[in-house]
Amino acid sequence: MTEPAPGPAPDHDEAAGVGLAAVPGRPDQQPRWRATATLTRALLGGLGLAAAAVVAGRPDLLVLGVPLLAWGGWALSARPTTWPAPAVRSGLAPQVLREGQTGRLVARVLLPPSTDVVWLASDAVESVALDPAPGARALRPPVPPSGLPWWRRTLAGPAAAQVTAEVALDVTPMRWGQRTLGGTWLGVTSAGGGFRWGPVTLPTPELTVLPVPVAAATSGPAPHPVGLVGQHRSRSVGEGSELAGVRPFTPGDRLRRISWRASLRPEAVRRGELLVSATHADQDAGVLVVVDAVGDIGLSEGLQGRASSLDVTVRAAAGIVEHYLSTGDRVGLQILERRRVLALPTHSGALHRRRALLMLAQTAQTAGPLARRLTRSASPRVTLGGRSTSLVVLVSPLMSTHVLTQAVTLARHRATVIVVDTLPTEVVLPSLGRPWSRDLAWRLRVIEHDHTSRALTAAGLGLVAWRGPGSLDAVLRLASRRPPSLIGVR
């Protein structure tokens, strides 16, 4: 009989792409095989009936005891003689998921001979769906490649030789954020159910859930771009690829810019002018997305159910951030919470996109390494972060007057500010004790919200209600036609 190889196992299984963590604990703390109630029942019941048969001279009692004695004897003989403990590995892959995306919680165990059932169970946690529900799976170990006779497979179980079994649960998070899965256990039962190993407590996996990608689908130009790298055409003439027209040559123009076809036209020849091609400058936009996470209105029912205001806000912000980063713009992100501001400097690229989404996933989370590192100040105040910011998108349910004051202040500092209203049309409100008080509170909220919306529009800020893809288009087109100085100044 081959014993499992001692020593630490690798922490990463490259073949499966699963980060696997070893079960903690010293070897002498590992669980042992323990007799089950099944074995006790078989032995005590069988031996009791046999003893009664002998004492009372009743062969019929012996017949009654035969099945229990046979089962007990077989289960006893199938007792595994090695422990599977050192080979147990578990992990969640991948550890960063989108809302609604499915990952796998995997436990891999090297089983000794005569094992029959291996199972994995996990406690249910809020906003995470487990499959099979409610979070447990049991399976037979795979049959080893060397063919065993049927009677041996039947009596001793498929793991008549040492075999590696993998048992997994599907994990689908239904809401963005930092999630910790519930307690997870692994257990093994020997052939005939006579002995049980475990349950062993596995390390609790952490899961980062990114907001579901909401396509902004906007094709409108970003207003007043500043940099010189991006995809947006500037209103000024400069280095670029899109033709703006022809103009007379001036000192400093590059020779390759000379348009010989236009310069050889009769009028140009008559005037003695050398003409060069003028192009629109290709510029990028610096976009600052400000997320109002001061409060959360309504209860979240996950991806499939009704959303809270913070759900809509975070998902809309994720859509906006992903849209602008995908077009090559530079995007900064600031999350305004009740007592802190998380700030991600303006940048572009795939790595920045991932960082922004991770930061959004940690909105309203008290812990989290990224949130701790990016916490800027105790005073929730938005800063533009240099001249490069040409557009500020404030994503807010319009309930915090402080945040809205910040928006108006930014607009007065010549920034183009667009406010995305993320208050859901329908929310699930918690009970406030009396049936009428909840409706009354909600009506007051709506009145306050409408009042704020009118005030913002009156202040000249672009305002759009977030209704999913395409919500930004109208406001972006409107804002791009206005000079920045007019925004917010009436």
């Binding site: 001692p6 009664a52 007792r79 179980g157």
Partner: protein
């Protein structure tokens, strides 16, 4: 754990039991009742106390398959046959033994994994196969007893003592096997 906590935990467990688990629990109770019924059909007189013990133990075993309450089922059944039936080797003995086997196999299957874990077809098939093998052994035992010339004879003191000694030796061997220490995978 208090009684209230225990009841809540048991109800929680039952609420997440799948179809297979529910069927197995039903089989546990029905098989125990069938074993008792076979005794009744063999001519046993009424024994309400033993029947109540058997039924409660079977029900408890169905609700908590990993409990030791199931031991009472074969003992109550043995009491029915010892106290309320004369010596017999009729077919009802085999029926009762097979029903007891089904009760035990269903309880073993229900307790081999957490309540919430659905048992796969391969697990069910394997247990059914093993139960079949044990049923064959049981039938062979019944045939052997039935065809034995000693079956109808009264007990002999020497034979009884020998059988008791053999049983004690078997029990001691089982106890030693249970206490045998698992070899360490770390070479200790």
């Amino acid at each position: 754990m208090s009684w209230r906590g225990l009841v809540v935990a048991v109800l929680d467990d039952l609420s997440v039991t799948g179809l297979t688990g529910r069927v197995l629990r039903l089989v546990v109770v029905l098989a125990a009742a069938a074993a008792w019924l076979a005794g009744d059909l063999a001519g046993a007189s009424d024994s309400p106390v033993a029947f109540t013990v058997l039924l409660v133990a079977a029900a408890w075993c169905a609700v908590v398959p990993d409990s030791q309450a199931g031991v009472l089922v074969p003992l109550a059944l043995g009491w029915q046959w010892v106290a309320h039936l004369d010596r017999t080797t009729s077919g009802w003995v085999l029926v009762a033994a097979l029903a007891l086997l089904v009760f035990h196999a269903a309880a073993a299957l229900a307790s081999c994994a957490p309540t919430a874990a659905p048992l796969g077809r391969d697990v069910l098939q394997a247990t059914a196969g093993r139960t079949g093998v044990v049923a064959l052994v049981t039938a062979a035992g019944w045939l052997a007893v039935r065809s034995s010339p000693l079956a109808g004879q009264p007990g002999h003191l020497g034979l009884t003592v020998t059988a008791l000694l053999a049983l004690t030796a078997a029990t001691a061997a089982a106890a030693v096997a249970l206490r045998r220490k698992s070899p360490s995978t770390f070479g200790r």
